[in-house]
Amino acid sequence: MNDPMIPAPFRVKRTRKELEDTFTLELAPIRNSRPFHFSAGQFNMLYVHGVGEVPISISGDPGDPSVLVHTTRSVGTVTDAMWKLKQGDTIGIRGPFGTSWPVVEAEGSDVVIVTGGIGLAPLRPAIYHIITNRKRYGNVVILYGARTPEDILYRREIERWRSRLDIDVEVTVDRATGHWAGNVGVVTKLVSRGGFDPSQTVAMVCGPEIMMRYCVQALNDQGVANDRIYVSMERNMKCAVGFCGHCQFGQAFVCKDGPVFRFDAIERDFYVREL
């Protein structure tokens, strides 16, 4: 019997600084060369030797399982240590875990993706999938918010998406700096611009809980029902397999029943304080 708590060693193939506090690791398994298959929205547990282990979403292309990509914001002990890893170093990986974005369920519908800050990383695999299979979807709207223009994650890639004529990409910042000529204000405000048929839309939302709360409100105001809205929840995780109890959110274990939830399934608990 395999112990699901034991990581497998992966080699750091490439590191990339994305932002002042955010970096990307490209990894490949050491012991075998099996492709790393995952679904958009799933996450791994990343173990740094002697330091600890944290949940990080997979942010690469699910259509290219030859490389495992993680984009992480450095916020504390483990993520700081992770940033110090260099090409050629080893990291422990367990996964993939959890539920995924409804990219299949959304076929035939309009898709609205609303996210902010690092929240784009867990959604990028869904965007890749949708772009690869563009014909299967109706209108595609991507709304992204960052603190300042300097905090825009995957900026060049966003610019590439923006230049396409078959996706509607809008970026907003809380505070304009430099030559910023785009939107200023919270990302939820962009939702009211529309560009999708609310009764035929699947919305995918990822960000801090408070941001997701306003997004759901804004989507509801546009007429998107809660059973068409998906959110990714974050809770402390020590195991990712239902053993440690830490990720409980009401009746759900975020690690296995989530992290992606259809909003109507968690709606009630979502509004209860400190659950």
Binding site: M1, D3, P4, I6, P9, G50, T90, G242
Partner: protein, 372 residues
């Protein structure tokens, strides 16, 4: 349905001396025998080398926030559950998960599995229910813990039915006791009201049957069976505490309620209730390294939802208020556990009532909520 195996119909009687033989026998089969014994003024579960270490003539007097042992009679099992639960052996308080050895830029990650064959002597019916709950958490789901699964599969269980519940027990209302119906290899009901203790033995497995064959026994008569039935029925009737029905719904109806602030004012967040609870399974992990930093170990340790760091995510803990943590405990035990594992997370053992320093009584609290 598969037909009931023949051994399930076995009913025999053994005397107390045979317990010593049973222990020796299990040890000879390679089991480490764990059972109740007295240490530091409490009944704990520890390795036994003979029946002489059982708490003969010791009774526990339990109440909210109080526990005391008294000398009384000659029975070997006139006590019930103490601060220990069997999870201490099946899912120990500290477990080494793996060792990571750094060699240059490589890591070698080695699994550390400690496999022990335990025989548990004196498992109460509520604790059998608790072990079965842990089976659902650690063995029967999408992922299984190999250490737990192996220890659990190997474990030989000698149940002891409860003829003398403590004042804190409420297993009858949870349908987990005072008599074990299955989930054991052997089950004993102690007769101690007429001189030297004797035990009615029931058999739950083929290996139980083989082990029993080596003990001196006599077939149980109709009167023995009636005697056990009467003792256990009286035990069930004697329980003054009970879990009110409808508690799960009551909690759902009171998720945001001033009640939680009130009870949090009494709770001192010591986490005792979760440590002694036979079903609480939460753990955290700890990383330690040697001086060179090349050898790192990852340990899994029991944790509790009463600890403020338990729900920590970047930016701060989710459950900052003591009231939120108390709500998590009670909602999980009595409510969301049903959604997760199709059973209550409480088996009615009463440990949390006894070992709460301020005497918070889960049945009382449940009653307050169902009435409110």
């Amino acid at each position: 349905m598969t037909p009931t195996p023949e051994y399930r119909k076995t009913r025999v009687v053994i005397d107390a001396a045979q317990l010593d033989v049973l222990i020796a026998n299990l040890r000879a089969q390679g089991y480490e025998v764990i059972g109740p014994t007295v240490a530091d003024g409490a009944i704990v579960y520890a390795p036994l080398s003979g029946a002489g270490e059982l708490p003969a003539g010791v009774t526990d007097v339990q109440g909210p926030g109080s526990y005391r042992l008294e000398k009384n009679g000659t029975a070997l099992f006139a006590h019930v559950v103490g601060p220990h639960a069997w999870k201490r052996y099946l899912y120990p308080p500290e477990q080494l998960l793996f060792r990571s050895v750094r060699q240059g830029r490589n890591l070698r990650i080695n699994e550390e599995l400690e496999l022990k064959r335990y025989a548990f002597l004196g498992v109460r019916p509520c604790d059998i229910a608790a072990i079965r709950i842990h089976d659902k958490v650690f063995a029967d789901g999408e992922y299984a813990d190999p250490g737990y699964s192996a220890r659990r599969q190997a474990a030989f269980i000698v149940a002891v039915n409860c003829t003398r519940p403590a004042a804190t027990c409420f297993c009858a209302s949870m349908n987990t006791g005072p008599r074990a119906r299955d989930g054991f290899d052997l089950a004993l009901t102690e007769f101690s009201d007429r001189g030297a203790p004797e035990f009615l033995v029931e058999v739950g497995s083929a290996r139980g049957s083989q082990t029993l064959a080596k003990l001196k026994h006599r077939p149980a008569g109709e009167d023995d069976l009636k005697r056990a039935d009467a003792l256990l029925a009286a035990a069930a009737r004697s329980m003054s505490r009970s879990m009110p029905s409808g508690i799960a719904d009551a909690i759902e109806d009171h998720l945001e309620d001033a009640y939680w602030d009130k009870i949090a004012g009494r709770c001192i967040n010591c986490a005792n209730c979760t440590m002694v609870c036979p079903t609480c399974f939460c753990t955290t992990v700890e990383d330690v390294t040697d001086l060179s930093g090349d050898i790192a170990e990852r340990w899994r340790k029991w944790d509790s939802c009463f600890n403020i760091d338990f729900s920590y995510i970047h930016g701060g803990s989710v459950r900052r208020e003591a009231s939120s943590r108390f709500r998590q405990w009670m909602r999980h035990k009595l409510d969301t556990w049903h959604d997760q594992f199709a059973t209550s997370g409480c088996v009615g053992c009463g440990r949390c009532i006894t070992w709460c320093p301020v005497g918070i009584d889960i049945t009382e609290e449940a009653r307050t909520l169902t009435k409110g």
